[in-house]
């Protein structure tokens, strides 16, 4: 009976979604603001990747909100799962030799890839959030290979706080230079070069470090208390 009701509900909700989505032509933009970003984004922000110019330049304040939400999540996980005592007489067994060696070899390259993704966020696809997530998955590999060994929780908190501060400081510097909070006060530079697009690379490096440290910290908290 309950299953039948649930199935009916799913069918009704699905039909509703289909009815609404069928009226929206796929891949067509009817929003003026998107067209404006597509036409003027590269010229105005200097970032070759339009997604980045929207995320960091036009909608930088929203990104600050997103980063704040992630920060609250990390703090909440830390509060719910404090670094407690390990259950006595229960030694964590290490992972197999293959996992340990593999993660030792792969970890630097994964972190390098993550750093590459957020350093080139204004040029190639990707950015702070993606690069941070890649770095966090590198740390996940370490946690899997050596369970029960906390990897630098203090360092994570420090990186997280400092990069968050750097993000806000760049925003306030924009006010000081008279271009508004999170406005661009640096020269745009030559297009498609690493040092271009004004403050976007600085903000994305801060976001990348912050997201990486936060996600790695959350995973570390969970794995340690296992």
């Amino acid at each position: 009976m309950r299953k039948a009701v649930a199935f009916m509900l799913v069918v009704v909700v699905g039909a509703g979604f289909c009815a609404v989505l069928a009226n929206i032509p796929f891949g067509e933009d009817k929003v003026n603001v998107a067209n404006r970003y597509m036409r003027n984004g590269v010229r105005e922000t200097g970032a070759a990747n339009i997604v980045t110019s929207v995320v960091v330049a036009y909608r930088g304040f929203d990104t600050l909100g997103e980063v704040t939400v992630l920060f609250i999540v990390a703090v909440a996980v830390g509060a719910v799962l404090p670094p407690g005592k390990k259950p006595a007489g229960e030694e964590k067994e290490e992972a197999s030799l293959i996992v340990r060696t593999g993660s030792k070899v792969l970890f630097p390259f994964i972190v390098l890839l993550g750093a590459y993704i957020f350093l080139h966020g204004h040029l190639t696809p990707g950015g702070g959030f993606q690069g941070g997530a890649v770095i966090a998955s590198g740390f996940l590999l370490l946690y899997l290979a050596w369970p029960g060994q906390p990897v630098g929780r203090k360092a994570f908190s420090a990186v997280e706080s400092l990069s968050g501060l750097a993000f806000v400081a760049v925003g306030i510097l924009g006010i000081v230079y008279g271009v508004g909070f999170l406005g661009n006060f640096l020269p745009l530079g030559a297009r498609n070069s690493l040092l271009s697009a004004g403050v976007i690379p600085i903000i994305y490096v801060a976001i990348g470090l912050k997201v990486g440290a936060e996600l790695a910290g959350v995973v570390g908290h969970l794995m340690e208390r296992e």
Binding site: T52, P125, Q130, A133, V134, S137, L144, L215, V218, L222
Partner: protein, 79 residues
């Protein structure tokens, strides 16, 4: 191109149904990660590489790991 997308969507549907049907939660999690991985492929084919990267790293990687930890702390088989 549209054939590849249709195949990916069909596989995603199969994996999603499998996620809800399997009693072994670890198998369900693998299917859940497969949904994310296929979604990220689909995003890439739809010219959204930024979203594809985030989906692959967070959806298929970190979320699955967190769920595996949660399953190991509770029970492996659904009753």
């Amino acid at each position: 191109m549209i054939v590849i997308e249709a195949i990916l969507i069909l596989l995603m549907l199969v994996a999603a149904v499998a996620t809800s049907v399997f009693r072994d939660l670890i198998s369900a999690l693998v299917m859940c990660a497969a949904v994310s991985l296929l979604a990220s492929l689909l995003f890439y084919l739809l010219d959204a590489p930024d979203v594809a990267m985030a989906e692959a790293a967070i959806g298929a990687g970190l979320t699955t790991a967190m769920f595996v930890v949660a399953v190991r702390k509770t029970k492996r088989y659904e009753e």
